[in-house]
Subunit: 729 residues, 2 copies
C-alpha cells in the first residue's frame, strides 16, 4: 500500500483491486460448461460457427448446443432450451435474433447462469427500436444480476492451455501467451487476433466488448490486473464512458502491467464515424491525450503502431537506458535505423576498442566495426552469431537492433539461425536481459518469427520501427518507476466561502461571469496570488488605492459584461501620478456614459505595473464527459496561434502540475532565457493545483481564465493580473 | 519553354534537357551485348551470379563471359579478355578484384566500350588505399571518356520487355512497369526491388549507383526524364553532392514526373553512419528539407513510406480534391481510416441522398450508409461490387479508400473479385479516373495484389496509410500546377557598391563583423528598408538626427565588436527630448570609458521608436555544401526556443519567399490578429529576395541577421531596426 499512500487524503488514489469484479468475470474466462443458444447446423449461421470455434479450439469444458429443433448438432447432444439442460451451465453464448434475446436472458436467470456473451447485433448501434431494446436488456441483466458481454460483439477467447476457449466466430486461433486484448470493435479485434498468429504474438485472452452495456473495458482491466497469465494489456477504444474510473483503475493496473491503447475518434471525422458505429458519445481527443498521459497508458498511433508496441513490449524487458547498438548487413538500412534512433531521442554510441577488436577478430575485413556495425551482405551464420553475442553483451549498450536485408532467398535460414544462436549465447553466458529487436527484410521469408528458448524476438519489416517502440518503452518505464503523485488538498483554502460566492452570483443573476469583486473574493478565498490593488468605485477611491500600492499603476474598467475592455478604452497603463489616475477613472466613466452603458461599470481595478517575470496563463474548461480540463501555456499567441499549451484532467496530482509546466515547448523561457532569471515554477504549479481543487469542489464553475499571470523570479511567486470566471447551474 | 520563361533572367531556371547525358547513358539501359568480366563457374562468386541473373532475365542481347581460365561458362562461349572478343561490346559488367580493375578499364577503352558497371567493392568506402585507388579510377574513366556506374554497387536492371536486362547479382526480378529507381545503397535498393515483386510495383529500371564516381543520381534523373517507359522516379539518397544542379534538374523533371526521395542521414547519428558507409560528406537535413520543398521532391519518412508512396503514386491519377469516400466492412478500421483522413487535412463528407438510397437498395439493412459506408462483415461479392461502383462514381467524392477485414479466409476471393469488378464497372461506365486505394486486412491473404485491366490498385496493410499518400499526392499536384517562380534580379540594387564595402572591410580589418556604418551602407546599396535615422558620432550629431526624425527616439551604441549592447547599458529607448538624447550619448560614452573600451565605439545609432506592426527576423547562414540558407521567423523565442522558422536555399524564387512567410506557424499573427491590421507581407518577401540576391553575388558574406524587422501594416512596408553582417574570405 505504501506506494499509493497520500498524506493529503487524495481522492484520485486508486481504489483497492475489486475482488468481486474479478470473481464475477471468472465464468467468462474459465467456464466448466458453455451453452450455445442459437446453435445451428446451417453453416451460414453464426450459431454454427460458434460451435465450430469451440470445438476447433478443443475447449476443455462441456459444450451444450441449445436449439428447439435439434437433439444433436455437430456430434453433441442438443437441448431445446436452457431450462431443459440437466446439469449446471457457467456461460451462455447467445446468437439468437434480437427479438428472442430477452427471453433467453430470463432463461439464463432461471437456470442460474452467472455470465452471458451476447453476439447478437441490432441494438443501440442501429438506433430506433434497437436503442429501446438495449435499454430493456440492460435493466433485465441488472435485475437478474447476470454479467453480460455485448451485445453486438464478436466473443471471447481464453488461450490458457487449461481452458482453450474460443467463444468467437472466427476459427483462427492465435498462439497462447501473455497479452490480453479488449476491443470495442469486432472487426478491429479480429484483425488483431488474426495478425497475432502471423506475428507470433502470444495472447492470454481476447474480449470483444461490443456495446458494453454491462462488462466494460475497465472491468476487464481489473480482471487482467489479477490474472496471472497476463503481462501486457491491449485496448482498442472508441469511447471512454467513465474517464474518472478509467483513470483510477488504469493508473493502478499500469503500475504493474503496461496498458497499450489505440483510441479511435481522434478527429471529428473519426468521431462521427465512431459515433455512428457504436452509438456512443464523441469524446474530446485533447482530453484523451491528457488522461492517458496522467495514468501512464501508452497510446498507439494507428493500427501498425498498436501491433508493433504489442510485440515489442510483450516479450522484451524494458531498456535500462537510451544507448542503442545497431547490427546490420547493409549500410543503407543501417543508416535509416540510426536516423530513427536519433529522431526518438536515442543514441547510437561508438563502441569500445575492446568490442571493436572482438568484432574484428571474426568479421570480414570490409566490415564496419563502429556502431552501426555492418557485417557486410554475405556474412555467414557464424559471423552473425558471434556479432550478435558480442554486441548484446557490450557494456556500453542498453539494447540491440538487428537489421537484415537478404541478398538471396536461400541465405535466410542460416542467418536467422545465427541470430537466434547469438542471442541465446548472450542470454546464457552473461545472463543479459537486454532487449533485442529485429528488422527482417527478406522477401519470401517476411513472416519468419524468431524464438529463443521461450522468448519471442519482436520482428518488424522496416528499420524505423524498433526505435519508436524503444522510446515508448523507456517513457513508460520512467512513469512506472515514479509513485503516483498526491493531490494536495490545501486546507488553508476557504472552499465554503468560494461556494457561497458562486451560489450567490447564480441565485442573484443566474448563469454568467462573476463580477470583478466576486472573482477577486473567490480567488482570495482559495489563497491564489492576486496582484496587489483592488476595486475602486470612485475616482478618489482609485487614487487612494494607487497611493497605497505605489506608482506607476494600471487602471482598468471592472465589468463582468464587457469582456473586451481595451477596445473601448477601458485599460490605462503606466499611470505615474494621482491626477492621471483620476483622469483615467473619469474618462472611462465618461466613455461608458456616452455609450449609455454606465450601468455595467462595477468600478475600476487599480493595480501596480508589474515588470520582470514572464507572462503565463492558466485556464479551465469543462468537458461534458471528462470533467474539468486545466490548461497551461505562455498565453497570447503561444496558446491561441502556436497551440503551445498543455492540458490535464482534474484532479491534478503534484506530478501532473509539474509536468504541465515542464512540457510546454516554451519551457526554456521559464528557466531563464538570455540571462534573465528562472521564474518561480513552483508557484505556477501551486496555482494549477489550487485551481484543480477549486473546480473539483465547485462544479458550477464552468469556465475560468487567469490571463495573464506574471511568473516572477524564483522565490518571488507569481501574480494573477486578470481573471474571469463563469458559473452555471 | 514558356512555362520556364523568366522575365528577370533568373539563374535558377532549369537548363534545357541534356541530350548528351541521355545518349551517353543509353548503353547501360539498352546494350546489344554485355561482357561479364570476372564471370565464373564457382557459384559462390559474384561473377557467377551476374551471369545467372543475365540469363535468368532472358536478356534479349548477347551475353559474353570473360575469364582467362575458361572457354565456356554456363553454356556461353567465354573469352580470356575483353580484347579477345571479336564483335563490339556495348556494356562491360565488371566483378574482378579491386587490384585488377584499372587494367580492365584500360581494356574497355581499347575495345571502345562506352559504358561499364563496376560491381567490385574496396574503394573509398573502405578508406586508406581504397580512396587512392578510387581517385586513380576516376581519372582513368575520365581520360578514356567511359561512362561508369559504381564502384561498390549492386548493378542495374532494365525491365523493358524488349531488353530484359538484369545486370545485378539478385535473381529476383520485379514486374515490369513505369517506376524507375536509383539507390545510393545496394542493400536498400535490393530491399526495394524485392519488395516490388510482392507489392506488384512495376519497375521500368533500377540502378544501384554505389560510390557514384561518374554516373550520378542527377544524370539518371535526366535520363529518366526522357525515358518514355518511366512515369515516376524513386531515389534513395545518402548524399547530395551538387545541390544546385540537383535543384535545377529535379525541378525540371519534377514538373513532368513525380520524384520520391528517401534521404538518409536525417540526424547526426544517421549522418555519421552514412558517412562511414559511403565516405561522403554529411549533409545538413534542414537544407535537404528546404531543397526538396523548393524543387517539388516528395520526401519519404522512412522505408515503409517510400514504398507506400511508390505504389500509391505510380498507378493512380492525382486526386482532384480532398473529399474522400471510405468503404469498409468493419466499423473500427473505418474509424481509424477516417481519423487519418482528418489528420492529413482531408474531409470525409456525408453522401448525397441519391448515393445513400442507391446504396440502400442493395446493402443489408444494418449497413451504415453515410461516409464511412459500412457494408457489414459478411457482405457479398455483389454487394461489394455495387458499393464500390456507387461510391467511385459519386460526384461528391474525389477519391475512394476501401478498407476490408476478412472474417474467414474463404471469404476473401469473392470480396476481392467484387472490389475489382466494382472498380472496373466504374471505370468503364462513367470513365472516372478517380483514384482508389485499398487497405486489405486478410491474414493468410495479405500479399494479394489487385489489378483492374492494366491498373494496379495500391494495397496497404493498415487503414492509416492511404490518407498519408493522398495528402502528399495533392500537395505535389499543387506544386506541379504552378510555374517555377522567377528569381528577381533587382537592377536597382547597387551590387558593385555592396561588393566594394565587403572587400574594403576584409582588406582593412580581415574577417569579422561589418561596422554599423558599413552595414547600413551595404543594406542601402541593396535598397533594403532601413529604419530612419543614422549614425551619430557626437552628442550634438545625435540630437540633430533625433530632431530630424522626430521624437521619441532610441539611441543605441554602434560597435561591431560589442554584440550584446543591452547588457552594458548601450540601448536607450523612448527618449522624448533633446536633453535625454544628449544624456544618453554621454552616459554610453562614459560607460565605455569606464570599461576602457572607448575605442570600440563607432558612435550611436539614433532611430525613431517604431510602434505598431509585428517584429520578424531574417537571417542567413552558409552551409558548406548547400550554400546560403535563408531563414525567416517571428524572431526572439519563436525562432530560438519554439523553432518556428522556415529555411530555403538561395537563390530564392518569388514563390519560395512567399512560401517562407506563409509557412511559419505564427503566420496568423501577420494576417492581423485580434483586430490588428494585416502586415505588409509583400515587403517582407522583398527583403528575403533582395538578401538572396546579395548573398548569391557576394560569397564573402558568411552570416547575416536582420533582427528585428518591424513589419508594418499593409502598404507601409517594413523597417530593419537591427542588422549585423559577417564577412570572411
Amino acid at each position: 500500500m505504501s506506494e499509493y499512500t497520500n498524506p493529503f487524503g487524495m481522492d484520485v488514489v486508486p481504489p483497492p483491486p475489486d475482488r468481486s469484479t474479478t470473481r464475477s468475470l471468472k465464468p467468462f474466462f474459465c467456464p466448466r460448461s458453455v451453452a450455445v443458444i442459437g446453435a445451428s447446423r446451417n453453416n451460414t449461421h453464426i450459431g454454427y460457427r460458434l460451435l465450430k470455434s469451440l470445438q476447433g479450439s478443443r475447449f476443455t469444458g462441456t459444450i451444450i448446443p441449445v436449439n428447439p429443433q435439434a437433439t444433436e448438432i455437430a456430434g453433441l447432444s442438443a437441448f431445446p432450451s436452457l431450462r431443459a439442460i440437466p446439469g449446471p451451465v457457467d456461460l451462455a453464448l447467445i446468437a439468437v435474433p434480437p427479438n428472442a434475446v430477452l427471453a433467453v436472458i430470463d432463461d439464463c436467470a432461471a437456470k442460474h447462469i452467472p455470465a452471458a456473451i451476447l453476439i447478437t447485433a441490432g441494438f443501440a448501434e442501429t438506433g430506433g427500436s434497437g436503442t429501446s431494446l438495449e435499454q430493456e436488456l440492460r435493466e433485465k441483466v441488472r435485475q437478474h444480476g447476470i454479467r453480460l458481454i455485448g451485445p453486438n460483439c464478436f466473443g471471447l477467447m481464453n488461450l490458457d492451455p487449461a481452458v482453450r476457449l474460443n467463444a468467437t466466430y472466427t476459427p483462427a486461433i492465435p498462439p497462447a501467451g501473455r497479452v490480453a486484448i479488449a476491443s470495442e470493435s469486432g472487426g478491429l479485434g479480429l484483425a488483431v487476433v488474426t495478425a497475432a498468429r502471423r506475428l507470433n504474438l502470444g495472447l492470454s485472452s481476447f474480449v470483444s466488448v461490443g456495446n458494453h452495456i454491462d462488462v466494460s473495458v475497465i472491468d476487464l482491466l481489473e480482471y487482467w490486473e489479477q490474472d496471472e497469465s497476463t503481462d501486457v494489456i491491449l485496448l482498442y477504444l472508441e469511447t471512454i464512458v467513465d474517464p474518472r474510473r478509467f483513470r483510477q483503475i488504469a493508473e493502478r493496473v499500469g503500475k504493474k502491467k503496461p496498458i497499450i491503447a489505440l483510441k479511435a475518434g481522434r478527429t471529428s471525422a473519426g468521431q462521427s464515424a465512431a459515433g455512428s458505429h457504436t452509438a456512443a458519445l464523441a469524446t474530446n481527443d485533447t482530453a484523451v491525450d491528457a488522461l492517458f498521459t496522467q495514468c501512464g497508458v501508452i497510446r498507439a498511433n494507428g493500427l501498425d503502431d498498436f501491433l508493433a508496441l504489442a510485440t515489442g513490449l510483450s516479450s522484451q524487458s524494458m531498456p535500462q537506458g537510451r544507448r542503442i547498438g545497431i547490427l546490420t548487413n547493409s549500410g543503407g538500412p543501417g543508416v535509416l535505423c540510426a536516423d530513427s534512433c536519433a529522431a526518438e531521442g536515442l543514441t547510437v554510441p561508438g563502441l569500445s576498442n575492446l568490442t571493436q577488436s572482438a568484432l574484428a577478430s571474426f568479421l570480414p575485413p570490409a566490415a564496419a566495426l563502429n556502431n552501426p556495425v555492418d557485417v557486410i551482405g554475405f556474412a555467414t551464420e557464424d559471423q552473425h552469431a558471434r556479432a550478435v553475442e558480442t554486441m548484446l553483451t557490450a557494456d556500453t549498450l542498453d539494447a540491440l537492433i538487428i537489421v537484415h536485408v537478404s541478398v538471396r532467398a536461400e541465405d535466410n535460414p542460416p542467418v536467422a539461425a545465427g541470430i537466434v544462436r547469438g542471442i541465446r549465447a548472450a542470454r546464457r553466458t552473461s545472463g543479459t536481459q537486454k532487449p533485442v529487436y529485429l528488422c527482417w527484410m527478406a522477401e519470401g521469408d517476411l513472416d519468419r518469427t524468431f524464438t529463443v528458448d521461450e522468448e519471442t524476438i519482436p520482428t518488424y519489416p522496416h528499420p524505423e520501427i524498433p526505435a519508436r517502440i524503444i522510446n515508448r518503452a523507456i517513457t513508460y518505464a520512467a512513469w512506472r518507476r515514479q509513485p503516483i503523485g498526491p493531490v494536495p488538498r490545501y486546507p488553508d483554502a476557504d472552499l465554503e466561502n468560494a461556494k457561497a460566492i458562486c451560489a450567490k452570483a447564480l441565485s442573484s443573476r443566474g448563469p454568467g461571469w462573476l463580477t470583478t469583486q466576486e472573482t477577486r473574493a473567490l480567488l482570495s478565498a482559495m489563497k491564489l496570488p492576486l496582484a496587489q490593488g483592488g476595486l475602486a468605485t470612485t475616482a478618489e477611491d482609485a487614487v487612494r488605492t494607487a497611493r497605497e500600492i505605489g506608482f506607476p499603476v494600471a487602471v482598468k474598467l471592472a465589468s463582468h459584461t464587457i469582456l473586451h475592455k481595451t477596445e473601448i478604452g477601458g485599460v490605462r497603463l503606466n499611470l505615474t501620478g494621482e491626477q492621471a489616475v483620476r483622469d483615467a477613472f473619469e474618462s472611462i466613466k465618461a466613455r461608458l456614459a456616452q455609450d449609455n452603458t454606465l450601468d455595467v461599470m462595477e468600478g475600476v481595478l487599480v493595480q501596480p505595473m508589474i515588470s520582470g517575470g514572464v507572462e503565463v496563463m492558466v485556464g479551465m474548461t469543462r468537458d461534458p464527459l471528462f470533467g474539468p480540463l486545466l490548461a497551461f501555456g505562455l498565453g497570447g499567441i503561444h496558446v491561441e496561434i502556436l497551440g503551445d499549451v498543455q492540458f490535464r484532467i482534474a484532479p491534478l496530482t503534484d506530478r501532473d502540475a509539474a509536468q504541465m509546466v515542464r512540457e510546454i515547448k516554451g519551457h526554456r523561457l521559464l528557466q531563464g532565457y538570455r540571462g534573465k532569471p528562472a521564474v518561480d515554477i513552483g508557484a505556477i504549479a501551486e496555482v494549477l493545483l489550487r485551481l484543480s481543487r477549486l473546480v473539483e469542489e465547485i462544479p458550477e464553475i464552468i469556465e475560468l481564465d487567469l490571463n495573464p499571470i506574471f511568473a516572477l523570479p524564483e522565490g518571488q511567486g507569481c501574480r494573477i493580473v486578470d481573471a474571469r470566471i463563469r458559473v452555471a447551474r
